[in-house]
Symmetry: C2
Subunit: 130 residues, 2 copies
DNA sequence: CTGTATCCTTGAGGATACTG
DNA sequence: CAGTATCCTCAAGGATACAG
């Protein structure tokens, strides 16, 4: 964020905040990332997703899949067989997204302990007052 | 996400998903980014934040500030004057976070139109059925 | 000025029975 | 198998009056 922003207007800065939120909204759901990752190395079926993304409900799986498909992050292929067979695959756009998320992952790993410590300190500090 | 994952176990992949969510949780709130950006180029006061982060309610401003402070992303300095004066500043950790978010921003910009188009196509496709 | 307290609304998400 | 439909819960967030 380098102080160098001094010449940039307040509204321009908040516009950037908007762009960031735009990206986060596509990926901020509780299950989006898990699904995207599971679907990123080849086609994967509904039931298999249900197994790999631990804890997800059937409803949320369907909903999140629909949203990701709508945003063009997942491709859905239906085989007209009976019983039905449906495969989901991450699009190139989704793979790029994941690569962008790596920076964030590294940040989380780098500061994990610092954050835990900060929380502990904060809680300690504010428990005294009761 | 490069197919090269083939050798990586399913659980290892989902563990990565966890780390990503960890980072997103710190920044996923509706207002975190806006506040962080506003506080990232020097100390800023409560009222000034209320003005710059357009649309935020007083309650959410307070809550989000407390959370960010607790996680060690904001520093809060109180001047013992009357009326009170409080300044918030982004910590170095928060600035690093923003830099990690840049990749995400660029992704959003690069694919903005593609996503809009994908949505339009999807909606068109699914409106026909009614 | 910088909050806190209170009340309210909404939407995300969970559980699960049912269906083509 | 791959969903949809239904009902329910809870936490995020909004509005705003009040307080030190």
């Amino acid at each position: 964020m380098s102080q160098g922003n001094s010449g940039v207007s307040v509204t321009a800065r908040q516009a950037r905040a908007c762009t960031v939120r735009e990206a986060l909204d596509r990926v901020g759901g509780k299950w989006s990332i898990g699904i995207l990752i599971a679907a990123s190395h080849g086609p994967i079926r509904f039931t298999e997703l249900e197994r790999q993304v631990a804890g997800i409900s059937r409803r949320m799986l369907t909903l999140t899949l629909r949203n990701l498909e709508r945003d063009g992050l997942l491709h859905r292929h239906v085989y007209p067989t009976v019983p039905p067979k449906v495969e989901y695959t991450a699009t190139p756009m989704a793979r790029e997204l994941y690569e962008s998320l790596v920076a964030l992952t590294e940040w989380a790993e780098r500061h994990r302990t610092a954050i835990t410590a900060a929380r502990a300190a904060y809680d300690r500090e504010h428990a005294k007052v009761e």
